[in-house]
């Protein structure tokens, strides 16, 4: 089974993208496996709308551990199962809460074992950031791309394309991350999910 990790800063729409992709792939009830940083595992089945309501949040760090969903992809004649992993958002600084730090370590650990990597950047936010001051070496997205990019199966999703200013954000992301595959998506409207699906399929 291939593992596809979805990661990025907090609140960029990782959880929503995972759920919307599952929905797009015709998953009715999402069976989510929560994997505690300590090693404990449990799973819960949600109807899609409830999953979105309960797991997607306006506040950062709503996702506190690895949450994975299995999705079947039709590949050629057969079927292939992909484990889609939603993760705890990564920040630049040292976080105060030990559990969140643990969860972030878990994100990086899972990244090392993933064959497909979806790195989400908030295009809406990028469009509103001061275009003059480009991110430094210490920017999390820059570091993440430099680390994950060469590993293969990697793409950047510029999310929240439905929001104003996101087009400008997308252009900025394309400029800052030249050489990487960048897919414009709106997890909210479903725009671009087809391309995300194709990216996963290509790397199976």
């Amino acid at each position: 089974m291939k593992r596809c990790i979805v990661l990025g800063k907090p609140n960029v729409g990782k959880t929503l993208l995972v759920l919307r992709l599952a929905d797009y792939m015709k998953v009715k009830d999402v069976d989510i496996t929560f994997q505690d940083p300590g090693g404990a595992k449990y799973s819960r089945k949600y109807p899609m709308d409830i999953a979105v309501r309960e797991l997607v949040g306006a506040l950062p760090h709503q996702t506190k551990c690895l949450q994975s969903v299995s999705i079947e992809f039709r590949a050629g004649k057969g079927k292939k199962t992909v484990e889609l992993m939603d993760t705890t958002g990564l920040i630049e600084q040292i976080h105060d809460d030990p559990l969140t730090r643990k969860a972030m370590a878990q994100t990086l650990s899972a990244l090392r074992g993933a064959q497909i990597i979806i790195h989400i950047i908030d295009a809406h936010l990028a469009g509103h950031e001061d275009a003059v001051s480009d991110p430094t070496e210490r920017d999390l997205d820059m570091q993440l791309a430099a680390f994950a990019g060469p590993r293969g199966g990697y793409c950047i999703v510029a999310n929240k394309m439905d929001l104003p200013g996101a087009k400008r954000g997308l252009a900025r992301i394309r400029r800052l991350f030249t050489g990487y595959k960048v897919l414009p998506v709106s997890a909210a409207t479903g725009e671009g999910l087809k391309e995300v699906r194709r990216h996963v399929l290509r790397n199976l």
């Binding site: 920040i91 990086l108 090392r112 570091q143 590993r151």
Partner: protein, 329 residues
């Protein structure tokens, strides 16, 4: 960042968990780690937690060894030192290269091999060594019969030890053969391999205290490359008794009071005697194993045996004379 560090990104993640590294610093450190360079996408089956768990496991095992106070303290120091050097590196502070080749001196049966094996485990969990296995060798395994043969033999053994520890027992015997002896060739081959494979294996030279001291003194090439010296003192009688109890307990036996007294008297006598076997755990093992056989002989013709009788080692099962020791030593 030294090569071995690149093999254990788990440490980077521990740093992140413990709040010593920010996620950005952690990603930077992981980036320089080899698995991203080589594009080798190893499946990360073992979690961080399990590596930490096994490290603690090995430390607990070390602590559970009887005696060896100085060794235990030194290992703790080393573990702490390695960690801090790593963190300093990740935070871009000057850090020293880790040179962990060691000299173990002490009589046979004082715990040298056991400690070496445990260190292998510890170093593996800390990412210092890739595998952490122990390759135990002596002169005959390293030295050959004709010119060129020795270098080949020594290299072969080193190859087996890559990723782990090469433990050379009675190492001084490599230097005792005089000018023409091939032992010298073995030493120079070893030193060259240590240079060529920095960080890929650890060499432990072991042997009697005086002989080792002389050996190290007269070989500057070795002296400068083995910064860690650990002495393994003889066990005291109390420690030997604890060792005996532990050995018996593991096998579901125990000593009755008279047997205890006899064993203790025997060990004290031996300790004073300054014989080759004094103060070592091998002596205890031999006596215990002999006692178990003697107990069996005592019981074998009896019809009714209680559980208690099957477990009990009595005074007459403990052999008191030196003969037994030498026969099975």
């Amino acid at each position: 960042m030294p090569a071995f560090e690149r093999r254990n990104p788990n440490l980077v993640l521990v740093g992140l968990e413990e709040g010593r590294l920010s996620p950005v610093e952690a990603i930077q450190a992981l980036r320089t780690s080899s698995d991203s360079h080589t594009k080798k996408r190893e499946i990360e089956t073992e979690s961080l937690a399990s590596s930490e768990w096994r490290l603690n496991e090995a430390l607990t095992e070390l602590d559970s060894l009887i005696g060896l106070t100085a060794v235990k303290a030194l290992v703790r120091e080393l573990v702490a030192y390695i960690r801090i050097q790593r963190i300093r590196e990740m935070r871009q502070l000057a850090s020293e290269a880790l040179v962990l080749h060691m000299v173990f001196s002490g009589n046979p049966g004082t715990g040298k091999t056991t400690c070496a094996r445990l260190m292998g485990k510890l170093f593996r969990e800390m990412g210092v060594l890739e595998k952490g296995h122990l390759v135990e060798r002596e002169r005959a395994d390293l030295v050959g019969e004709y010119i060129g043969h020795t270098a080949q033999k020594t290299r072969d053994q080193i190859k087996k030890a890559l990723g782990g520890i090469l433990f050379i027992d009675e190492a001084y015997s490599l230097a005792t053969g005089g000018e023409k002896d091939f032992g010298k060739e073995s030493i120079s081959t070893l030193i060259k391999a240590m240079e060529d494979n920095k960080d890929r294996f650890i060499v432990i030279l072991a042997g009697y205290r005086e002989e080792m001291a002389k050996f190290i003194q007269s070989n500057p090439g070795i002296r400068s490359r083995f910064p860690i010296h650990i002495e393994f003192p003889d066990y005291t009688v109390e420690e030997l008794m604890l060792i005996a109890d532990l050995m018996l307990k593991k096998r579901d036996y125990r000593l009755d009071l008279a047997a205890r007294a006899r064993l203790e008297a025997h060990l004290s006598r031996n300790l004073g005697s300054n014989s080759e076997h004094s103060g070592n755990a091998r002596l205890v093992r031999n006596i215990i194993e002999r006692a178990i056989r003697r107990q069996a002989l005592r019981l074998v013709d009896r019809k009714q045996l209680t559980r208690e009788e099957l477990m009990l080692i009595r005074r007459e099962d403990i052999e008191g004379n030196h003969e037994a020791v030498h026969r099975f030593g």
